[in-house]
């Protein structure tokens, strides 16, 4: 029996699994959304500026538009005296141009009159008579001015394909008058919970039963990574029931996750049911990641199916590494912006074994070079350890562990 179990896992390292996922999945089709719907979506195309920004030269302060050379040499003792030839109002172009020896009152954001090349802040002026202004400091050319096209020039790139649309990008798109954006459709991820011992969270478990946890861990992770969760069913370890659920998931979803049962029996049945679909291919049967080794990656036609390990902590780790990767491939993005990798000093020895990559729950404190990671050692069935953790410490594949004081890579769980 021990041989059977050794052969059972022909484990693949993380990088190989990631490459497989990347090769298997391509970006979904695009859909058009308005700016108010575009936050945290991913651009389906590269966009360049349809016009320059700002469209006209603007003042960045309240003051007087001048020809800078008229102010050269001005000081508190010897102010430059200029004729006030007008007042610029917001939202319209100045009616006349500025001549030598003249100044025009200008508000912040006001359009610079033709002939002016700088603005003197009102704080550095006095205007005892509305027709004249005394300038107490020289202005250099372009001082307190944003030139037309200085922000962005027509034709310059605004958004890359696959780029996440943050509030900043919303702002820039609005500034350029781009009010509809083509974004990649949200991947629909089907979740099937399996296992005779698993009951829905709203029921009271009978002796020997436990409630479905993974479904909610997965839902949260999927939504935070730009996907939509479609919960298909909670099914016992029965071939017919699981087959119906899988059929529904394969038809209605872009990606299918099977999760919940932790026993070999559940995994065997998962494999048996999926093998019965035409176009089935078993791609990965075990990964060199701990916790999470008994992970299955399968293909049915063009759809990718994960058989996730049963333990919540294992499913959590595997979903971060691989389900997120699949979502990013479906969204046309190389790395998930929701996964923040950092580095920290580890506060304890962590033994590991060569040939597997470990992910240890940890509590992070401090910032920058003083950021420390305190490992939380607990069994992979302990859900409260996930709540206590705000990061996972990564121990590389060919490391025998890390010592207290070593710098380690950590994946933040915010």
């Amino acid at each position: 029996m021990s041989e059977k179990f050794t052969d059972f896992f022909q484990v693949k390292p993380r990088e190989a699994v990631e490459k497989l996922i990347e090769a298997l999945l391509s970006p979904l089709e695009a859909e058009t959304v308005t700016l108010t719907q575009a936050l945290d979506r991913f651009s389906a195309e590269s966009i360049s500026a349809p016009s320059s920004l700002p469209p006209f030269s603007r003042s960045t302060v309240d003051g007087y538009a001048v020809k800078s050379q008229d102010t050269f040499g001005a000081s508190e003792g010897f102010p430059a005296m200029l004729k006030v030839s007008g007042t610029i109002t917001m939202g319209s172009l100045p009616e006349r141009s500025l001549k030598q020896g003249e100044a025009m009152a200008i508000p912040t954001g006001g359009a610079l009159p033709e002939g002016a090349d700088a603005v003197v802040m009102v704080e550095h002026t006095e205007s005892p008579d509305p027709d004249f202004v005394e300038i107490y400091r020289p202005a250099s050319p372009l001082e307190n001015v944003v030139q037309a096209g200085e922000d962005i020039r027509e034709g310059n790139p605004v958004l890359e394909k696959g780029q996440k649309i943050r509030p900043q990008e919303l702002g820039l798109l609005a500034a350029l008058g781009i009010t509809r954006v083509s974004v990649t459709r949200k991947p629909v991820v089907g979740v099937i919970s399996t296992g005779n011992e698993i009951v829905p969270p709203e029921t009271t478990p009978l002796p020997g039963q436990i409630r479905d946890v993974n479904r909610f861990l997965l839902q949260g992770l999927i939504e935070r990574n730009g996907g939509e969760t479609r919960f298909i069913a909670l099914v016992p370890d029965e071939e017919a029931a699981l087959k119906i659920a899988c059929e529904e998931g394969l038809v209605s979803c872009d990606l299918l996750l099977l999760s919940g049962g932790s026993s070999v029996g559940t995994r065997d049945l998962t494999l048996k049911v999926l093998e019965s679909f035409p176009g089935f291919e078993l791609l990965v049967h075990g990964v060199a990641v701990s916790p999470g080794k008994p992970t299955l990656l399968m293909k049915v036609g063009k759809k990718v199916v994960f058989g996730l390990p049963g333990h919540p902590v294992s499913t959590w780790v595997i979903a971060h590494l691989f389900v997120t990767k699949a979502l990013m491939s479906l969204l046309g993005v190389s790395e998930s912006p929701a996964l923040v990798w950092e580095r920290a000093i580890v506060q304890g020895n962590i033994p590991s074994a060569q040939g597997r990559e470990d992910f240890i729950r940890a509590k992070i404190a401090g910032k920058g070079k003083d950021k420390i990671a305190t490992p939380i050692f607990s069994k992979s069935g302990i859900i409260s350890s996930l709540v206590a953790a705000n990061a996972l410490i990564q121990i590389p594949l060919n490391s025998e562990g890390v010592y207290k004081g070593d710098e380690v890579d950590i994946l933040m769980l915010l």
Copy 2:
């Protein structure tokens, strides 16, 4: 005129403004949501475990449940031979208890029979005859077992008031059968754009006009910090129009933001209109933060109103510091989980002035002690600089600047 402008700003430091906001706003009422709606919401109450988890002792591996003392001294050469007295199935309690000299086959997650105190992994056994199993390694007490209540004990804290519900918390709540959660209602934040020069993004600006940018910056930031945006109107610098918009905002929203126009005229009008409401109080007229100095914090009855500076970059900085703070107060949370502060080595000299806290846009690269922040120097009207930045470098109030190589605090813009 210069005196007027000096007096105009009786600037308050950030900390004083934050304390004011905290004192002004209290948490909104609670509402009950289902688990699938609870992601990234904030708990309105403290919850303790209604029962222990797991409810029974479980195996963490596939193998044999044993009395550990029956395996003491077992080795490859001298295996312990135990009688297989049953097979435990998933989802039910073992029918009989384990006696000395016996073992029961148990799957991962299976319930430990009474009398057993450990599980031997199947890899360390051989069972040539279904009635007997040879154990090749001794098991210590509790090995490969999660004890009843080991995850969480009845009555222990599960969720603190104000705690953010991450995917992990969803999982733990599900495990405990808590399927409805009391969360603080999402604050509704009204946004009014003002300024004669501002036009909606879908129109083509006439000469001297620019499109409304701040509305979208604010919308993104509000949503990422647990609020809902209600865009009231874009109004010109006209008293009657602004008053109608403010009335609507004060009635329909928990917090009101006025933004858009960058001129002193717009700010003066904002103040004039709000002063006309009964119960008006001007709390802050200028902050010691750059960019963003001309910020107004006002109160009308119990509602808080921000007059945001017009420049997009200024509004962006001020909204991160103060609007987010107001949202957290309305949500009953002390710090925004969406604002990630880090530390980095600055790649350039940044001059600053004592008496103001500077926030410089920056591009961050690297991790841990090698994280560097390259400042992006550009005017505060330049929207594309916000897109280029993924952090803000903070220069403290009483610093005269930082030198290349100094460690600085940064606010990540992810």
